[in-house]
Subunit: 462 residues, 2 copies
């Protein structure tokens, strides 16, 4: 493709500044206090898609936050690429661990990002990676090199389960008709080790509430005589893993995809240093399911993690109280063939069944989604592989990710097309964590690689 590098060079500062403006808006979908900011972000995306050359752009309202849809159809006989991304971000807390305010983006150099990285909530997940596609579109239209039709579908509820997007997709199958879906919401192995994510884990996210006495009690007068909801909750959660860190929920593993020796050997080829891994996290050892490596534990095996827990007195000093209620947010990462709704049901029945006398238990499902696997012999994968080959000078490694993009399996089910996950972030970019960032190198490399995907996909489709 001609001029792409020079185009990026000339427009680099503008590309960065446009993204920085987008990152300044705190579009936290999980917290209703930020409703107006989320809506404002949708407007900004609409404007950016129009500027990038989409013929029609609309803000599609839902029961939740709107979906921004844009398209440019140049020839009905040419293939159509559907780009998906999200403009909402994770809550930034704990705020005190950020070195700079999460919504005041700054560019700083780091060991892994000698060219600098943009530090802000959403820099990588997913505003930065989503905006690469907008700028790639701008390049292709402004230089008249768009080889096929394009559709954009950018949502604002990915971080809270995409439930309204699911409805939107089901109701707009014709509008969303495409030949391949392109998403950048994952990572790559290293700056010099490009990779394409071929597998995603599913997710089941629940909230549990344990209620004991009808009011908080004095721990002196009642301690030892009534069930303490916090003690009980810790016992119940602890019992969800056995001594080998296997999950104890009956039926939990029944449908888990079992990989062959060969597949596991193939996976093991990806460059990985356990020492670097431990050093990066400042831990003296890893921890997980017996019989699996670290990369297997967070990619091909299901997990159960408490994402939040609270109850009783958590303020300064001491309060000798037995709380009436204790709570936890628990998420399970699922692997292909595990059905998230079935797992949610298994969890619920099991958790209710292990509640001791003296307490009542409530389980509230938050959201979930299925796992996903994409075959490396598909047109889309081949096109992506060639694109990376051109821009990185080496063949990307197919990689299973531990993360979840619940909507991907729904896309396949409803739109009958495969999704290609071209991620340009690094695991160390701290997405969902304080000091999230996205490398300037990665941002620009994405903008450079994406148009080549369009080119090769169109050629391979002939």
């Amino acid at each position: 493709m001609t001029h792409i590098q020079s185009y990026i060079k000339e427009n680099k500062d503008r590309f960065l500044n446009e993204l920085i403006e987008l990152l300044k808006i705190p579009s936290i979908s999980a917290d209703s206090a930020y409703r107006n900011d989320v809506l404002k972000t949708a407007e900004a995306i609409k404007l950016s898609l129009e500027k990038a050359g989409c013929d029609t752009v609309e803000i599609c309202t839902t029961d939740g936050y709107p979906i921004v849809y844009g398209e440019k159809i140049i020839d009905k006989n040419l293939p159509t690429v559907l780009v998906y991304g999200h403009y909402d971000v994770q809550p930034p807390d704990p705020l005190d661990l950020w070195n700079s305010p999460p919504f005041e983006p700054v560019i700083k150099k780091t060991a892994l990002h000698p060219e600098g990285a943009i530090f802000a909530r959403g820099a990588c997940d997913d505003k930065g990676q989503m905006y690469m596609h907008v700028k790639a579109m701008e390049f292709m239209t402004s230089t008249d090199q768009l080889p096929c039709n394009v559709k954009f579908m950018i949502e604002g509820e990915e971080e809270v389960g995409s439930s309204n997007l699911a409805i939107f997709v089901k109701e707009n199958q014709e509008k969303l008709k495409n030949d391949v879906i392109l998403i950048s919401d994952t990572g790559m192995i290293a700056q010099d080790v490009p990779s394409i994510t071929t597998g995603l884990r599913g997710l089941s996210y629940v909230e549990v509430e344990v209620t004991g006495p009808n009011r908080d009690l004095h721990s002196g007068l009642y301690g030892g005589a009534v069930a303490n909801p916090i003690n009980v909750l810790t016992k119940m959660i602890a019992s969800l893993h056995d001594e080998n860190n296997h999950i104890t929920i009956p039926g939990f593993y029944d449908k888990v995809e079992v990989l062959s020796k060969e597949e596991r050997a193939e996976m093991a080829k990806a460059p990985f240093s356990l020492d670097d891994y431990k050093k990066a996290l400042d831990i003296n050892d890893v921890y997980g399911e017996t019989g699996y490596t670290t990369n297997e534990r967070n990619a091909i095996r299901p997990t159960l993690d408490v994402n939040g827990i609270w109850g009783g007195y958590t303020g300064e000093g001491a309060k000798t109280v037995i709380a009436s209620k204790a709570y936890a947010k628990i998420s399970m990462r699922l692997v292909p063939h595990q059905d998230w709704e079935e797992i949610t049901q298994l969890f619920t029945s099991h958790f209710e069944s292990i509640a001791p006398k003296g307490v009542t238990v409530k389980v509230t499902p938050h959201h979930g989604g299925q796992g996903y696997v994409t075959p490396i012999n598909s047109l889309g994968y081949k096109a992506a592989s060639k694109a990376y080959q051109d821009t990185f000078g080496k063949t990307p490694i197919p990689q299973r990710s531990g993360g979840s993009i619940p909507i991907v399996s729904l896309f396949e089910q409803e739109l009958k097309s495969k999704t290609i996950l071209m991620g340009f972030g690094l695991d160390s970019d701290a997405i969902h964590s304080p000091n999230e960032h996205f490398g300037v190198f990665n941002y620009l490399k994405g903008i450079e690689t994406i148009p080549l995907f369009y080119k090769y996909f169109t050629e391979l489709s002939k």
Copy 2:
């Protein structure tokens, strides 16, 4: 004693209004945000003791909140009663469970309090019960019926461990010299079943912190591969009790006082309905150490309760994060002969020893105190018993309380005198809970009974 009932009748409204004014000040010692209110309360106590007839009243500064000391010495040859109480209160949270604001006292009738009860934080613990002594003093001085010397020592750090009071007592043994210590900071069995607390549990209160990775992590990318501090904390806490709800800390029970069959039989005579108990707490069953009754579990047996737990994302919605840290506040109620400092040490070494690889653990002791037992053949107990006999028309029942007043055992050690615990509150008064209250009947009955204790103690001392 003459005129006591008529005096109370004439001054009832003033007695109530004075207490209500005191309850309006949020003297929360655990939260430094209320520092000025705590200090303001000390001033109010000083004024009330002067009005009640103390000859000298002083505000004694400490490294924490001041101690209000007042005295009236009428004759060196007469016995001296030292009254102890505290003017600080527990934090009121959770605020949303209060039916009226915790620091806007209101008098409402309840089933157990047909004459009305004052609803406010501190109404019973301990402003209300402490102020009974001030009003009893006022009666005795204004009617010239004070039979002995009186010393008041009212502190502002009881709810946070009384560490500065301990220093004050050690440094002022001559000033605090007395023949008996009188405290109203406990309860009685029922409105028509007066009781005197003869035993208190000790306390060890610690805060624990579990640290895993050096930052919050994305649970998809790292879930299952690194130790999740919250999962680990639940496992560690759960392991502190075995299947019989015995505490598993090595050496924890070594010095526990073992009661004889006879003593347990004596205890069992106290009127108690398990059904009413369960109904009052709205629980389908009680829960506790195998082999002991409910009243034994919360009186003669040590316990371990989590008073607060927190970590990860606890806001609205869902966040798929693995927290870097998880925390809990844990308190242990101790029985006579268990040394709180030794128990704190046993807990710390054990808790550190059960931490798995991949996390680090920090244990921070908050405060503690020894248990206490007072003999029913002491002068003070006999005097109190006769006083109740006069005002309630029946002999009070000696009762072991599950609560702790850590300073009591220190009083005996440093001042060589016994403490008499004349409590007028009910277990259902919700101290340390939302909607704490104190019966008008109980408040006035206390004011009526206390002067009789002075009378009989002085007579029995001759």
